[in-house]
């Protein structure tokens, strides 16, 4: 897709209600389409999770539920299962809670215990059959989702030398990615013979990786590229031969494609790649930046250019940016200022109509 001309990120709504910093956001899959209202989950240092639903009449989001009295410390991360039926929340209280929407209420149907202390991230695989969690105890756990809201730990992965900040499954294959305070990204795959998970690749300084904590990662829609963001003030783009990966011989290493440096001057906490190819970043300088691939420079591999920078997107650090998977150009952001904002990417008038 080509992005020519000028764009703006237009603030549509501020969602207020959390009483502490908002850490993470998750759009509910298959919501916001076919007459099903869009739903967004947010989690916070105020120990609660909030569920926001878009009103079909007004188009504005309202808080529909506050999930409290379960987590006793910061809720750091939230993730919907692919069907949108379950919501997983990871907390500094060392547990991961599983919530189900039953009869208009969100009910905590399971609590996953095992991590020694803070759980920092939770992620569902593409089919919803596996869940991954990670935390300050330097480990990554893989849980099997069993009938009746049972969760069985199938693997505890050690390898990171410091706390693990985020886990993320590949969008189509059962390959798990983790990024850490130890500056590395690790890739975990299952050994076909004995159901054992192990680290198949480590991306660190020795292969053009980050030089400080890696906070987050995200995949493009094809799953052949990944973007990572770090305290070293850079974004890095990685690529793999997806055909090779799908053939299942496991011989598809991820390679560093390019580094986006010079754009950020404080820690980058969040990065998200939209379905239509726009990379959003949220950082400690209160700004949101959008990047797109520059199609001119393909000879030397892909390059990326800044599409726009939204200064003062929030009054404080931007902790999470998430594109809606249903509505092109709709972005949600969460901040230390306790608010969530809904944005819309618009092309400015006076320019050619763009294929957004």
């Amino acid at each position: 897709m080509n992005f020519a001309g000028d764009f703006d990120l237009k603030e549509k709504q501020i969602l207020e209600g959390h009483t502490d910093r908002v850490w993470n956001l998750a759009w509910k899959p298959a919501s916001g389409v076919d007459g099903i209202p869009a739903v967004l989950a947010s989690c916070s240092g105020d120990k609660t999770v909030r569920i926001w639903e878009q009103s079909p009449a007004t188009g504005s989001f309202q808080c529909k539920a506050v999930l409290d009295e379960t987590h006793t410390r910061t809720v750091r991360s939230c993730a919907w299962s692919p069907s949108g039926k379950l919501l997983a929340t990871a907390s500094f209280d060392a547990t991961t809670a599983i919530w189900e929407h039953v009869g208009g209420d969100y009910e905590c149907v399971s609590t996953l215990e095992g991590h020694e202390n803070e759980v920092k991230s939770v992620s569902w695989n593409a089919s919803g059959s596996l869940l991954a969690t990670c935390g300050r105890d330097k480990s990554v756990w893989i849980w099997e989702v069993l009938p009746g809201n049972e969760f069985d730990c199938v693997s505890v992965l050690q390898g990171h030398t410091q706390d693990v900040k985020m886990v993320q499954w590949h969008p189509s294959m059962d390959i798990l990615f983790s990024c850490s305070y130890d500056n590395s990204i690790k890739i975990w795959a299952e050994d076909g013979d004995n159901d054992d998970w192990h680290c198949v690749q480590t991306l660190d300084e020795s292969n053009s990786g980050h030089t400080s904590s890696v906070w987050a990662l995200s995949f493009n829609s094809d799953g052949d590229k990944m973007v990572t963001c770090s305290d070293d003030l850079t974004l890095k783009i990685w690529g793999a031969d997806i055909m090779n990966m799908q053939s299942g011989d496991g011989n598809a290493p991820w390679l560093h494609l390019c580094t986006l440096s010079g754009y950020h001057d404080r820690t980058i906490f969040s990065v998200h790649w939209s379905r239509d190819g726009i990379i959003a970043s949220g950082a400690a300088d209160d700004a949101i930046r959008l990047f797109v691939e520059n199609k001119d420079g393909l000879v030397d591999g892909p390059t990326y250019q800044l599409l726009l920078k939204k200064d003062k997107a929030h009054n404080m650090d931007v902790n999470s940016v998430k594109w809606s998977s249903m509505e092109n150009g709709r972005l949600a952001s969460a901040s230390d200022d306790g608010t969530i904002k809904i944005w819309e990417l618009v092309s400015l008038p006076g320019h050619d109509k763009l294929p957004l």
Binding site: D163, D231, N315, D336
Partner: protein, 146 residues
């Protein structure tokens, strides 16, 4: 917790006489720090020369504050606690849009890099301040003089 004191005999300086200067953020920040007690000793951080007025650099235009403190000894395991105290104290007194970086003075700590990294990782700081033991230690340093 350790059984004995980590630095049993710190050098203690007299509390300085303050010359009233133009009110600015730098002075405000330093003033609020004057109340913080050392985690180990009944002295203020200023008396132990952990902090001085020179420890604080304010860039009002950019909205940035850098605090550089000097732990009393090279292997001070209390350095992170002191850093947490400074960070927690800042929260109440500095305009929210200010960005605060906290570091140990270059060469003043054996694990300088790792202490600095920890103190400037807000996720680690948030987690530490929710830990009841650390929280108690920080509160004692911040509020014991009141």
């Amino acid at each position: 917790m350790t059984l004995g004191l980590i630095n049993a005999n710190p050098v203690v300086h007299a509390k300085k006489e303050r010359v009233t200067r133009t009110e600015d953020l730098h002075n405000d920040v330093f003033k609020v720090f004057l109340d913080i007690r050392d985690p180990e000793h009944p002295y203020s951080l200023e008396q132990l020369s952990v902090l001085s007025e020179e420890s604080i650099t304010v860039d009002e235009k950019l909205g940035r504050i850098l605090i550089t403190f000097t732990p009393t000894i090279q292997h001070c395991s209390m350095a992170t606690v002191i850093g947490l105290c400074l960070r927690e104290k800042m929260k109440d007194y500095v305009p929210p849009h200010f960005k605060v970086d906290i570091k140990v003075a270059p060469g003043s700590h054996a694990d300088e890099e790792s202490v600095n990294k920890q103190l400037n990782d807000k996720e680690r700081v948030a987690a530490a301040l929710e830990n009841p033991n650390l929280r108690q230690l920080v509160d004692e340093c911040l509020y014991s003089n009141k």
